[in-house]
């Protein structure tokens, strides 16, 4: 199917790229359907609303820059999106790129959790104070590299 995107204009996507957030993202409760689209630059992914062309997020796999990232979410909460096993789960962190261009940050406190099997998704809240809404991706990746040397 063809969809209108904020970043890439009209593009063609497969059904498998569509996820449904019954409750939407926090602050955006009215938008439920989004498509996951590879950005021009890996490993970024666009999360494009199918209901509003101008609503689009950028996301990243949080484990790519924080190997130590951990999510402890109650099974009862994950069952809202039908998750039965950890293997069903795909996690993304929403990315903020300020108008000045840097620092590029990722939100590890409110990750997007996707059930790969049924493509139902939710934005979770992580209570561990270690994980915040702004993690400087480049800085924390460098820290990791320094400590691993």
């Amino acid at each position: 199917m063809e969809i209108k995107t904020k970043a890439l204009g009209v593009i063609s996507i497969e059904r498998e790229q569509i996820i449904t957030l019954e409750r939407g993202f926090f602050g955006f409760p009215k938008y439920h359907q989004f498509a996951l689209i590879d950005a021009e630059q890996k490993p970024f992914v666009y999360i494009q609303s199918l209901e509003e062309q101008n609503l689009s997020f950028i996301a990243i796999d949080p484990f790519l820059f924080r190997y130590d990232y951990e999510l402890d979410i109650e099974d009862a909460i994950l069952s809202e999106i039908g998750v039965e096993s950890a293997a069903d789960v795909l996690v993304f962190a929403l990315v903020t790129i300020p108008s000045e261009g840097t620092p590029i940050t990722a939100n590890l406190q409110g990750p997007l959790i996707i059930n790969k099997k049924n493509r139902q998704a939710m934005q979770a809240v992580i209570n561990d104070p270690q994980w915040k809404t702004k993690h400087d991706i480049l800085a924390e990746m460098n820290t990791r590299e320094n400590t691993s040397c």
Binding site: F26, G27, A39, Q41, L94, V125
Partner: protein
């Protein structure tokens, strides 16, 4: 909105399975204990508002002509 007063160690019950206890009051700080089923989401309001604000900022992200290349191995 229901507004009520409680003293230290007094409780509030919500449905059959949520219990809120006023543990301690000191000046303008109140320590609260919450017992709820695991499926109930409990978090400080600032956390919720923080994520909401960050989503707002994320949705307004200025996408550069090309996204920056990250040095992933």
């Amino acid at each position: 909105m229901l507004i009520l007063s409680r003293k230290t160690n007094q409780k509030i019950r919500i449905n059959d399975d949520i219990e809120i206890t006023i543990i301690d009051v000191r000046g303008d700080q109140v320590k609260i204990g919450i017992t709820a089923p695991r499926s109930v989401k409990v978090f400080r309001e600032e956390v919720y508002i923080g994520i909401q604000r960050e989503n707002e900022a994320a949705s307004k992200s200025t996408v550069p002509k090309s996204l920056p290349a990250l040095p992933f191995r």
